[in-house]
Amino acid sequence: MEQNLSEILLVEDSPGDARLTTFALQSAEVANPIVHMKDGDEALDYIFATGAYSQRNKENTPVIILLDLKMPKVNGIEVLKKIKSEAITKNIPVIIFTSSQLTSEVRKCYSLGANSFVVKPYDFNKFEQIIKEISTYWLIINHFPQ
């Protein structure tokens, strides 16, 4: 196994959902460090090493991004658009992880290049199961371009 594992970036405004996602990732025994950004604005600063994160090396891109849609300031759609339009970030798998089940949003996210669209269940057992499957697929099964 690699020494320095890439980060999982969690973009989530709800403290409850952030805690649950972290909890579920840990109980799925995911070893990658988890970075949590509380809205789209903060997330873009982190990803592109601007603003408060201008000291960060932006070559260290996250291994996957779990992205909520409805967030204050900059929403998930705008974050997705930016990530998928920049050469340095467009290959990062973006998993939309949201409470919304609107077909219009699913369509929009896919047209912008989202890699997956997952609706958060309200039942924690299912929530954990989903997180486990997401991490297994994207961190172990899937191959990335070098």
Binding site: G16, L20, L69, T98, P121, Y122, D123, F124, F127
Partner: protein
């Protein structure tokens, strides 16, 4: 002189006589001329009388025509007025329809943001309640006594139920907006597909014997009609499971010249006294302890059938089963 005078007087007399005769002759000629002229004038007058009466007739005819024209004109003016009124009314109606359309668009938009708010903002706290309680139950179970454990279970079960209610409400609201994509649909194949779907999705292993009869095709939105069959079949399975030999029959019958598709079971049935509540949103006619469910299934069935322009009905008797019928416009 006297003779001379007399002779010349005689000559004069003769001359006068001749003059007079000439005068008379002239006069007679004039008279003849006059008589002729008079005749001609009389003839002309005669002709004129004929022409006049002709003219009078023409005039009469013309007046009649004008009279007719007047009444026609009145009729025409009446029709024109009526037409103008209709056009006015039409414009009024058009304005009303346009206004209603605008209002509808607005309320649709509101409904959309309303369901977005439900799906997102309400699900988040429910997930938190369910999940954190589940984590507490897992990690700290030994710290609770029996009552504490029981109460924790209540919180978890009720939060799952609330999540289901929200999901059901959302899918019900979405139905109202969804466009119908109608096509000729093989109802027999659709019913069989629904049976397979229900049996593979339900967590319980049902023992019911299900028979699907041949049914005529219909012109409908097949994905929505599949939902109708799924809801009716899953109800039939649920409410007949406690019978020793649960039977479910799917088919169709002709009633009052309309084709009614049906799903019948020999299960617990229902009291026709509560028929009015049967198709209501979140209405349940059975104890939640006995039969699970939020009470949205039949409301969805009714909504889909009504959106197709058809109708639903049901028959039931306690402990003798229930039959649900629906018709579709042909």
């Amino acid at each position: 002189m006297a003779l001379q005078e007399k002779i010349s007087e005689g000559i004069e007399f003769e001359r006068i006589q001749t003059d007079l005769a000439n005068l008379f002759e002239g006069y007679r000629r004039e008279k003849e001329n006059l008589a002729e002229t008079q005749k001609a004038v009389l003839n002309i007058l005669d002709d004129f009388v004929v022409e006049k009466s002709k003219l009078e007739n023409y005039q009469k005819a013309l007046l009649n025509i004008l009279d007719d024209y007047d009444s026609e004109k009145e009729v025409l003016q009446g029709s024109q007025k009526a037409l103008l009124n209709i056009l006015d009314d039409y414009q009024d109606e058009k304005n009303k329809v346009e206004k209603t359309n605008e209002e509808l668009l607005l309320s649709n938009k509101e409904l959309e943001s309303f369901s977005y708010s439900i799906s997102h903002d309400l699900r988040t706290p429910i997930r938190a309640i369910n999940s954190f309680t589940t984590i507490i139950q897992r990690k700290y179970l030994e710290k609770f006594d029996d009552e504490g454990k029981e109460l924790i279970n209540f919180v978890i079960n009720e939060s799952v139920r609330m999540g289901q209610l929200i999901d059901d409400l959302l899918s019900f609201a979405r139905l109202g907006r969804k466009e119908l994509h109608k096509s000729f649909t093989d109802m027999t194949a659709l019913a069989k597909e629904a049976v397979n779907k229900v049996l593979s999705l339900e967590e319980v292993k049902y023992k019911a014997k299900i028979s699907v009869k041949r049914m005529p095709p219909s012109f409908c939105d097949d994905s929505l009609m599949l939902q109708v069959f799924i809801n009716l079949i899953s109800n039939a399975l649920k409410f007949s499971e406690r019978k020793t030999r649960p039977l479910i029959e799917i088919g169709c019958s002709i009633q009052h010249n309309s084709t009614f598709y049906y799903v019948k079971d020999n299960g617990v049935g229902f009291d026709m006294k509560f028929y009015d509540k049967l198709f209501g949103v979140f209405q349940r006619l059975h104890d939640i302890e006995d039969f699970k469910g939020t009470g949205i299934g039949l409301a969805i069935v009714q909504r889909i059938i009504i959106r197709h322009g058809g109708r639903v009905k049901a028959e039931g008797k306690i402990n003798e089963g229930a039959s649900f019928y629906f018709s579709l416009p042909e």
